[in-house]
Symmetry: C2
Subunit: 99 residues, 2 copies
């Protein structure tokens, strides 16, 4: 399992229609074939400036790769993410077994 997460900040005013439209477009990524456990999140911690997050899981690196190159994901990145996101950090996780 690989958990792909991204925390981000939009250029839109909080609560605006533009913000809602972006989040709805992001939510549509949940329907892509290899995406599991998709979550749209608000980042509420006070120690950083990110205001939203996305989290999703892939069963394998192949499934993750398939998502990355999927035409709908590429389209989302080019038409929504790049013009509307002002800052972000991607963090990808796998389970770690503690000895």
């Amino acid at each position: 399992m690989i958990r792909h997460t991204v925390a981000f900040k939009l250029k839109h005013p909080p609560g605006s229609e533009s913000e809602s439209a972006f989040l709805a477009a992001a939510q549509a990524l949940s329907t892509l074939p290899t995406v599991r456990k998709f979550e749209c999140l608000r980042q509420v911690g006070k120690k950083n400036a990110f205001t939203f997050g996305l989290s999703m899981e892939f069963a394998s690196q192949n499934d993750y790769d398939a998502y990355n190159v999927h035409s709908e994901h590429v389209h989302f990145v080019e038409t929504r993410w790049k013009p509307e996101v002002v800052d972000f950090i991607e963090l990808d996780y796998v389970q770690h077994a503690v000895a």
Copy 2:
């Protein structure tokens, strides 16, 4: 539900005994009374320098606050986190319902 996550980088060499000891001490936080769904994670994304992560959930802000002030957590922060972690980012999430 509040999901508290932190990505971090240790001062220890990868695979070292010091690294394992730190992670075991972190894992012990999973036993604190209000902690749910504790996970020890490896950060595998290439777009940042963090190498590990922790994720846990709290049923409420009160439960989160109880964790923050719990003596075992405070002790962990002072004796392990501050001296052994060289960089980190905390991200706290709540579910966001997309319209």
